[in-house]
């Protein structure tokens, strides 16, 4: 069996040797942080991709079984993205890795034995699996297929806002003549933006701020629908500073955070009550 990205032939996926299951399971969960199972039939895959491509930073996509079929679908979507003018860094920007070689020479290998496995650490991993995946392999991964759901108009709008914010972020320029610090801030801001998106929050605005900072703004509304406050995520090489501004408070509240993913997640959690409109 070829281990390249595209195969001309379809080879039935072998059953997993029973004795091998525990080791594969242990290895999989060691290396894969978050696993999403996606049925890889074309329309469903398309739905999934439409929903996730915007949030797919730092993501690995692992294709299992019948990969020639699956890959041709993904490849079509990639081509679609190309036609939208995002050819050059479309995959790279999202740091998407595609692997189809969980199996080598029809022999099941634990991921830890594969040269690419270590690259999956700290990533969100999406496993695309088609329906011909052998039942015995399911024991390795404990997966069940979730029925694909159509995204609500609100979710579609959120995705579009995310894409626009991401584009705006990529086009910001430092106003203070320190490009190196600003590019560092941009890297932090990209990380914050993705974590915010994954938590269900899409900033309304992104601006280049003084001190080579990049700031995301949210404008939650009060019960009358009026914006009375803002939440500001200020990103710089030095860290993340969240400003919670409420006109009823005596002064703005500021929360400081580091820039590691888990620190950002905690900071978002701390600001979550404020981010939601009342």
């Amino acid at each position: 069996m070829s281990t390249g990205l595209v195969s001309a032939t379809s080879t039935p996926t072998p059953e997993v040797p029973e004795a091998f299951v525990p080791e594969v399971r242990r290895s999989m969960w060691k290396y894969f942080g978050e696993i999403k199972w996606v049925r890889a039939n074309t329309p469903e895959l398309h739905d999934w991709w439409e929903h996730h491509n915007l949030l797919a930073h730092n993501t690995a996509v692992v294709l299992l079984a019948q990969y020639d079929v699956v890959l041709s679908n993904v490849w079509d979507l990639s081509t679609h993205a190309t036609s939208l003018g995002r050819r050059h860094q479309w995959w790279e920007q999202r740091n998407v890795l595609i692997h189809n070689n969980l199996m080598l020479s029809n022999v099941w290998e634990p991921p830890s034995a594969l040269p690419w496995a270590s690259t999956l650490e700290q990533r969100n991993v999406f496993l695309l699996v088609n329906e011909t995946f052998p039942s015995s392999a399911q024991k390795c991964f404990d997966f069940t297929f979730a029925e694909p759901t159509r995204e609500s108009p609100a979710a579609v709008a959120a995705n579009r806002r995310f894409e626009k914010t991401y584009t705006d972020l990529s086009q910001l320029r430092s106003a203070e003549g320190n490009p190196q610090a600003f590019e560092g801030a941009r890297i932090v801001a990209e990380r914050v933006l993705v974590r915010l998106g994954q938590a269900g929050f899409v900033p309304e605005r992104v601006v280049a701020a003084p001190d080579d900072e990049i700031a995301f703004y949210f404008f939650p509304t009060d019960s009358g629908g009026q914006p009375r406050r803002y939440v500001r995520f200020g990103c710089s090489l030095d860290g993340l500073v969240i400003t919670l501004e409420d006109r009823d408070a005596l002064q703005p509240e500021m929360l400081e955070s580091g820039i590691e993913p888990e620190e950002i997640d905690q900071a978002i959690a701390n600001a979550e009550g404020f981010l939601k409109s009342r």
Binding site: E204, R205, V207, A209, P210, D211, E213, A215, Y217, F219, Q226, P227, Y230, R232, G234, S236, D238, V241, T243, E245, R247, Q251, P252, M254, E256
Partner: protein, 145 residues
């Protein structure tokens, strides 16, 4: 040119003109405030916010809105930043050739009226946020005072 006033009365209004990126509806964002000195127009000199905006556009064509704060609304006491730094706010009258209404909102140490600002970024952000929240937008596209 008029002489510089040593003291700007509390009832004078200060206009700050803004591009779209620095406000949202009635909210003025911290980016609108500069710790090195936030230029404003004194109402007692320029008379109307539209006059201030017309002048600002000759220098910054993207300015489109005007926010206002009265001198009395600015903090009278000390502002304490996270690191324990103590700061005061004052307004310096700075009439210029071609812009006699010009003044600046400035920061300084409590024991000195000299213009200075914090070295720490977070302290600078706190000062900017503290002043920005006092302004209210009175002129914006499709909305006039």
């Amino acid at each position: 040119m008029r002489p510089k006033d040593a003291h700007i009365p509390d009832d004078d209004n200060l206009f700050r003109t803004l591009p779209a990126a620095k406000y949202r509806d009635d909210i003025v964002l911290p980016e609108a405030i500069e710790v090195e000195g936030t230029s404003c127009y004194r109402r007692s000199v320029c008379l109307a916010p539209h006059v201030a905006l017309a002048h600002a556009r000759t220098v910054r064509p993207t300015d489109e809105a005007v926010a206002v704060v009265t001198v009395a609304e600015l903090p009278k006491g000390e502002i304490t930043t996270g690191g324990g730094g103590r700061w005061i706010v004052f307004v310096e009258d700075l009439p210029e050739q071609g812009n006699e209404a010009h003044c600046e909102i400035r920061f300084g140490r409590p024991d000195s009226r000299e213009h200075s600002w914090p070295g720490k970024k977070n302290a600078r952000l706190l000062l900017r946020s503290t002043i920005a929240r006092l302004f209210r937008v009175i002129v914006a596209p499709n909305r006039n005072a």
